[in-house]
Symmetry: C2
């Protein structure tokens, strides 16, 4: 589909590396078709390109061994967490060895006084929060899927509450990573801030496994808020809803989540989650703070929303009511699948300045209509980030072509509106051709960095930037 053509495939090197590693890892190195396929891309329109082998590692030292062998023989190494990424990050276009870190799943130490935790990369965000429950702390980043924390760092993930708590870039204090040479580096320490040299932590976050393989993460934690309230409000059109978002952010209300659903998404959510919201754009919010604080925040938002033209404003501090609505929001993908039988949802992800959000969303809706596509929109709109999910019959070449045309157009729209082609899904294979539209000559700097750190291009080749 939109995969890049395989580049040079180093058949002999890959075979040799696998046979050396088989000796060392025994049953922990697998080459069966099914497991290889599971370790290629499985989530969106991008075709599956399985690795030649999968090795299940248990420590940074083992990763280092794998990397040394792979380097020696020029075999690609593809880091693998849970495989929930959306842009072909775990595919093996040139073949090679998938390094599965799911067994590196230890939470090493919680520093409650410092609000940080040290974890291995295979720990998932839900496992971490389950573990932390009794400490009064939590890890806020929530990309939807129960992704591994190593994968979330590698792709620069964020999600619904980035507007309050930031993205992975803001929440990783330091990383341990194995370089292509096999050397293990540590990018920082546990201080909350540092200006000690180039910020390698933030260079590795979002580098999608193309510079090194993350083997340990030190993450910031947050105190579980004393109180949580939620609210929702219906708007006559997208523009009014976006104006309410802008006013809310400008007022400095520290919303924890502020989600937009377009009318089509609301209709699907009503049907799937048995709600009866008006079929019109909806803002769904969550507030974190002290008990009086969250009540004040919710009411202030309500006043803003109704002044601007919203209706049906409602807020609650009841956990049951809150959970009901947010569960419906979390199930939106399945609601849209149910509303579009026989079709598959293709994810998109752009982010624009919030003053451009209304224009971006309404033009995206019009463009989908012109192309005959169903592409309902939901967004983490406090950041200007939104997703149109294109529902198509993937066996129809015409629909596939329309979908590709729409996605490319969407990237161009984001750039035209001074935004980004990827708010949180990364570049992977899927957006590699669009990156230069946004970044221009900066792509050459990225390539220079890639070449400097991974001169033989063994780390997740074919992702983010291509070797010339």
């Amino acid at each position: 589909m939109t995969n890049l053509a395989p580049q040079s495939r180093n058949e002999i090197g890959i075979e040799t590396a696998i046979s050396v590693l088989k000796q060392r890892f025994g049953e922990r190195l697998q080459t069966g078709d099914s497991i290889r396929e599971q370790h290629g891309h499985t989530t969106t329109r991008i075709a599956n390109q399985p690795p030649d082998a999968v090795v299940f590692v248990k420590s940074a030292d083992e990763v280092s061994e794998v990397m040394r062998v792979a380097s020696e023989h020029g075999a690609p190494v593809i880091p693998f967490g849970t495989g929930t990424s959306l842009e072909g990050h775990v595919n093996a276009p040139n073949g090679g060895i998938s390094v599965d870190v799911s067994q590196m799943d230890q939470i090493l130490v919680v520093h409650a006084e410092d609000l940080d935790v040290v974890v291995q990369p295979g720990v998932t965000r839900m496992a971490l929060n389950e573990y932390l429950r009794d400490t009064g702390l939590f890890f806020p980043i929530d990309p939807g899927a129960n992704a591994s924390l190593g994968g979330m760092a590698a792709t620069g993930a964020s999600g619904t509450n980035a507007v309050r708590y930031g993205t992975m870039k803001d929440n990783v204090l330091s990383l341990e990573a194995v370089l292509p040479s096999g050397e293990v580096i540590c990018t920082g320490r546990r201080a909350r801030k540092s200006s000690a040299g180039y910020d390698l932590t933030r260079l590795l976050v979002g580098s999608e496994g193309t510079l090194g393989l993350i083997t340990e993460l030190t993450l910031k934690l947050q105190g579980i808020p004393e109180a949580i309230s939620s609210a929702h409000c219906t708007f006559p059109d997208i523009e009014t809803a976006c104006n309410a978002v802008i006013a809310t952010i400008q007022m400095g209300i520290p919303v924890a989540r502020i989600e937009l659903l377009d009318a089509e998404s609301v209709a699907a959510m009503n049907a799937y989650s048995k709600l009866s919201l008006p079929i019109s754009p909806l803002l769904l919010l969550e507030f974190h703070g002290s008990t009086p604080g969250v009540s004040e925040q919710a009411k202030t938002f309500g006043e803003i929303a109704e002044d601007i033209g919203g209706s049906g404003f409602s807020w609650t501090d009841s956990p049951e009511e809150r959970t009901r609505l947010w569960q419906a929001r979390h199930d939106i993908y399945w609601a849209l699948v149910a509303a579009n039988p026989g079709r598959e949802g293709v994810a998109s992800d752009v982010c624009v300045p919030i003053s451009k959000l209304s224009e971006a969303v309404t033009r995206a809706q019009s463009r989908a209509k012109e192309l005959g596509l169903t592409a309902p929109i939901v967004g983490h709109v406090g950041d200007g980030n939104f997703h149109a999910s294109v529902f198509i019959d993937t066996s129809s070449p015409a629909e596939m072509a329309s979908c590709d045309a729409y996605l490319n157009w969407l990237s161009e729209l984001a750039v035209e509106l001074d935004g980004t082609i990827s708010g949180e899904h990364g570049i992977g294979q899927g957006k590699i051709n669009s990156l230069v539209k946004e970044m221009g000559g900066s792509v050459d700097v990225m390539k220079a960095i890639k070449r400097a750190i991974d001169p033989d291009n063994i780390m997740n080749p074919g992702k983010v930037v291509l070797f010339d």
Copy 2:
């Protein structure tokens, strides 16, 4: 003093580049002794190493011209904002051309709806906030000095309110920069978040002019809070004060500033600013939010502080009282100078996890005493960042040696306690030898990046990392 020995000095290349640039820039290129000396390091114990010429640029195109000429002839280029950095960042150990951006002082566009602003690098933080006053917005980062925003980005500055608003790393949305080749790149757009490729914005922030020269910045802004309150509380010892900081952060009180002054600093502040605070460790706080919010925050802090053993807690929402105490805090350097006549203050800057803060501060006090040094401590303790100012007679080799020993010991202490050798002052020349103690093999990755982007080492050589 602690300068590194000049490396290879390319006499002919520098002369040729200057004569070419003189033709082009005329009176805007200066070679007088006084102006050259002003453009070398002037602020701390590090000796002044003036550039061979200073060129006053007005645009990215002019910077690009300078860089092409310098590159062609192998002449070093040293970016210069206001010269308020503390680790020798603007020195010219190999000679070369200081590029002064103070005339690039335009605020290009305020996007009030998006809470961002686009500025040239020579705009100072105070000039920006003066300009923004009527918009209801402000730029929060406050490193003390009225530094240029380009310089603040280059050094990864922060200051008293980083605990609430983050550092420059968190507040730069994108940068335009000129590479050593003369190419102008843009590292991102105005979206609030992005996962589009390697994060070059955060690579350039804190790179101290060693990878490129910043010619334009897009910065996040904040709404001016509806209300501000301040508070202070005295503690019997450093440990109790630090425990109050930890409890405050853990409770999730969104303090805007939380500053620690040791007893010595309080005594100097009393004398200089005509206050009568008890001569004992002091926490000084500021809260930003809604009117009921800041009152609630201040009172909650007061309860915590008194529970833990603080005394004399007092809070106010009166602007006059607040300004009086914070002005005294801002004047602390001058208060310490007045308390130490005939001596010069040498800045230090380490940052540790807050659970280690009490140990770090008390050990730093003991060590200073052992070495016979006066080194009062103030700190932005919500982040674990503190500064011991060593007051010495710089004409005494013995005192200079003790000071050096103390500063090196302090860097080692920070590393031992899982902290960083630089919370906010950067590496420059002054900490280049300590960086490897903190970063180990990561320094080689930094060198590889430096070589990839600046192969001829013309960008601010002798800072952050050295060419092997």
